[in-house]
């Protein structure tokens, strides 16, 4: 089958680029079912271009840059390219803010699965979050209750359009329940997120050495707040050599957030900002860390970093928030938890890990087993089986 994927992809820095990268990496190996892969990706800044690792015998990948974060005409441009290439199926690797930070272009972009389906091409959406579980204020979309209500209304409408795809996959059981109960959807399915890294035979068994390295990874400013810096400041007197690593960039919705944080906490030593972490640097960032912290004040359900932390056998500190906690328990992960709005609670949770090496190793080992239970290479097979079933329906 000829598969097209609407996604972000490295060196593009949009959210879900890593998921896109790992999904495609393994999709390329499925030569028994796939004949061609086309990526409808976002346009890169001047001077950058997409390139793909291509091992012998793998399916070639072609990138078609045809949309731009924040643009209003993404739906038309993607639809036009789909009609030109005419794949058997188009998979959308998206979340609610994939196409833009602004409300109107974001909404228009999310109409794309429906617009593509109207061309007669089969469509599948991997939806990484749903509107019902997004805290709009925390996500930078709020403002007033009236605005929030209007956004929710549009969110409901957009969700109904997304559900017009042939199938919609989500990674958390609660999302399936919401989409089925509220929207009466019949085309929603639960698909495992999968682990990015290939499992090695041994569970990482030894604690990292040197000074405590506390790390957080991702895009910052909306769900991930400076509560972690406050917590770090609180634990410094008792852990003067501890290091805090902020790995990642601003969320596109909140440009300049990390610069603001740097200024606000310039008096606190041992905070390191890495900027964008390229794919080859990811293992070192995780392997050097003693604990990976999720300083979310709300959650969108994105669990990629948790799976990554697990893949590297890292201990994690997580907020007591609905679907993260649910994911941790349901998928066999472990961690220390903190109250989402309390820096002291976060500092205490971090100390419960870094001051207790045995607990740190125990959490890391459990997370390693959980993350490596189902590699993304196998998750890709689930999608292919669903795609095949969809295409059989047509035929």
């Amino acid at each position: 089958m000829r598969i097209a994927i609407v996604t972000t992809f490295p060196p593009g820095k949009g959210s879900l680029n890593e998921y896109g990268f790992h999904f495609v990496k393994f999709l390329q190996t499925k030569t028994d079912m796939v004949s061609e892969i086309v990526l409808f990706v976002d346009e890169l800044p001047e001077g950058e271009e997409y390139s793909f690792e291509q091992s012998a015998g793998q399916i070639p990948v072609r990138a078609v840059p045809c949309w731009k974060f924040g643009a209003w005409d993404n739906v038309l441009r993607i639809r036009r390219e789909v009609k030109k290439i005419n794949p058997d199926i188009v998979l959308f690797n998206i979340q609610f803010a994939s196409f833009a930070a602004g409300k109107v272009p974001a909404t228009l972009g999310l109409l794309t699965p429906w617009a593509v389906r109207l061309t007669g091409v089969k469509t599948a959406v991997l939806l990484h979050n749903i509107m019902e579980t997004v805290d709009l204020k925390q996500a930078g979309f709020g403002g007033s209750k009236i605005i929030e209500s209007v956004i929710r209304l549009f969110g409901n409408i957009v969700t109904r359009f997304i559900l017009k795809a042939d199938i919609v996959a989500v990674t958390i059981p609660k999302y399936v329940d919401i989409l089925v109960e509220k929207y009466k959807a019949k085309n929603v399915l639960l698909a495992p997120h999968g682990s990015f890294e290939e499992a090695s035979e041994d569970v990482p068994a030894s604690a990292p050495t040197g000074a405590p390295n506390i790390m957080t990874f991702g895009k910052f400013g909306t769900y991930k707040k400076w509560i972690l810096m406050e917590a770090f400041e609180k634990l410094q007197p008792s852990h003067p050599t501890a290091k805090l690593v902020i790995a990642g960039t601003d969320n596109p919705n909140v440009k300049g957030y990390l610069d603001g944080v740097k200024n606000k906490f310039s008096h606190v030593p041992n905070i390191h900002f890495t900027g964008y972490v390229s794919e080859e640097d990811v293992p070192k960032i995780f392997n050097d860390s003693w604990v990976v912290v999720f300083p979310y004040t709300s959650t969108t359900g994105s669990s990629g970093v948790l799976h990554q932390a697990g893949g590297f056998g890292r201990a994690v500190v997580l907020p007591k928030l609905g679907d993260l906690e649910e994911l941790v328990i349901e998928e066999g992960y472990d961690g220390e938890f903190f109250e989402p709005e309390s820096a002291q609670s976060l500092a205490d949770a971090i100390c419960r890990v870094i001051d207790h090496p045995q607990r740190m190793l125990e959490i890391g080992s459990r997370n390693y087993l959980a993350a490596n239970g189902l590699p993304i290479s196998e998750v890709v097979d689930w999608y292919l089986i669903h795609f095949q079933e969809l295409l059989n329906r047509k035929n």
Partner: protein, 111 residues
């Protein structure tokens, strides 16, 4: 997990009981691999005794289905308890697999 094997209508069947999860998949993986090596491409997995199934176990069945289909065969499932069927429905794998209510029906496809 309880595992038994049998042959009915020349179809190889594996009967599973108890929890079918990440800690218990190894013998099923080995059985599927053995069947593939022996050239058996039409198989039945009887889940009558399974009261819990996780994503790793589901993935094991997906891999089995994929390998059978590559050789123009099929992996059939039968006798699911309700909690297990719910998981298949949640993941929509009930659309991908042929699922039967009895072992006789599952083996009859080739008889």
């Amino acid at each position: 997990m309880d595992i038994t094997h049998k042959v009915s209508n020349s179809i190889n069947i594996i009967q599973l009981g108890g929890r079918f999860d990440a800690h218990e998949v190894a013998p099923v993986v080995a059985w599927l691999k053995g069947q593939a090596e022996a050239g058996k491409v039409n198989l039945v997995v009887n889940l009558a005794g399974v009261n819990f199934i996780d994503s790793t176990a589901l993935s094991t069945l997906v891999q089995g289905l994929k390998h059978c289909r590559e050789k123009n065969g099929e992996l059939h499932l039968c006798c699911m308890q309700q909690p297990v069927r719910v998981i298949f429905e949640l993941t929509r794998l009930d659309k991908a697999f042929s699922i039967y209510t009895s072992e006789e029906e599952a083996t009859a496809f080739q008889a």
